[in-house]
Amino acid sequence: MLTPLYLDNAATSWPKPPVVTAAVVRYLEQVGANPGRSGHRLSNEAGRIVDAAREVLAKLFGVRNPLRIVFGANCTEALNLALCGLLRAGDHVITSSMEHNSMMRPLRQLESEGVELTVVPCRPDGTIDCTLVEAAVLPNTVLIALTHASNVVGTLLPVAEIGQIARKHDLLLLVDAASTAGAFPIDVVADNIDLLAFAGHKSLLGPTGTGGLAIGERVDLSRLRPLMRGGTGSRSEFEAQPDFLPDKYESGTLNVMGLAGLGAGASWIRERGIEAIRAHHQTITQELIDGLGNIAGVTVYGTMDASKQVATVSFTINRMSPSEAGFLLDEEFNLQCRIGLQCAPAAHHTIGTFPEGTIRFAPGNFTDRNDVMRALEAVSRLAGRAR
């Protein structure tokens, strides 16, 4: 029996470094308590675990004050907090045509409530013309909100350049870093990112159920409404929500075991070095792109240049639906990937693969050249069979 060949890291990374598992187990077996509530030693240790996760993520993203990172369940929650918290009827927001539904659905909801929305069209390879972004700015524009990299084809968007446009017009910039946090260097100060939404369970190597939002100093907290209100362990004598970070946006007990793992995952990344991780991703991604491109009957989407994308490769096989290919890859080759629309219909409209979608291979930190060869052999066999 073949071992699993897991190429679904863009959905959730796996396997995790052993230090991640160890941190989760340590919390469950030796700490266990509620963070920041009770004041006893176990509660304090839980609080330190959460603080350590904040600190290492702040270092990874160039956030100067770790207390400006608020945790939630995932990147979707962080994007909803930023979008629904900031935007009001009459405001204008600019986004791209490569967005995931975690961005598009809250934006479409807000649009139905009177927020004005411009979706800047991207090129079929997923790249964007920054002049179109600047041309879309209106007098009532308050926010540019876009993904750092497509979850379908991996194409990186030039957030630093768009950050300059945002700053020039005194707009806020929200970046969906679900596909890049932990996989690609991010510096919120250098890139002028005001709001950075991240997923804990993808390239940051934490468990599922973790994510968060880094809130920059240009964001007016009195304007940014929380998604939820509730117990924070602070200001308990008052029934009004605290107005300070991080408590304003962290009601209810956090996922401490998840954050223990996330902190360990981010530390593992810092020790290995984000540049080294990026270099590995780029090498295996280019091998995948080139190898898939050489198989007769296979069409690869995106820029074909791994230096312009993250480790996410989308392709189709002639005369074989993505769903059938995905089933056969799992069933016959023990290869796990993601097929279909990957929750990003706008991106598939842009690259021309709507409504069938694509087969998506997303290698990770532990994917090596032998894995790539095995994946290419599997696709080659399926393509040969379909011909």
Partner: protein
């Protein structure tokens, strides 16, 4: 440290107290997380107990680390 030579630093939230503890210990400044004394605040979280003579050196360290002090009292 004996309690009569100590001060307590109160924060708006325990999240700030954990941050403060980390920052001070990194700089070799001794401190201890303790429950907020009831006579100082109805807060249910924790505060930091430090030696009273360290208070003046602790304040700028916390300021530089973006940790706001809500109040400081003799313990």
């Amino acid at each position: 440290m004996s309690a009569d030579a100590c001060s307590v630093i109160l924060f708006h939230t325990s999240n700030h107290a954990f941050r403060a503890e980390k920052v001070l210990k990194e700089r070799g400044l001794s401190c201890k997380l303790v429950p907020v004394p009831r006579h100082l605040s109805s807060e249910c979280g924790v505060c930091l107990r430090i030696e009273r003579e360290l208070l003046d050196s602790v304040k700028p360290v916390l300021l530089a680390a973006h940790v706001e002090i809500a109040a400081a009292h003799d313990a």
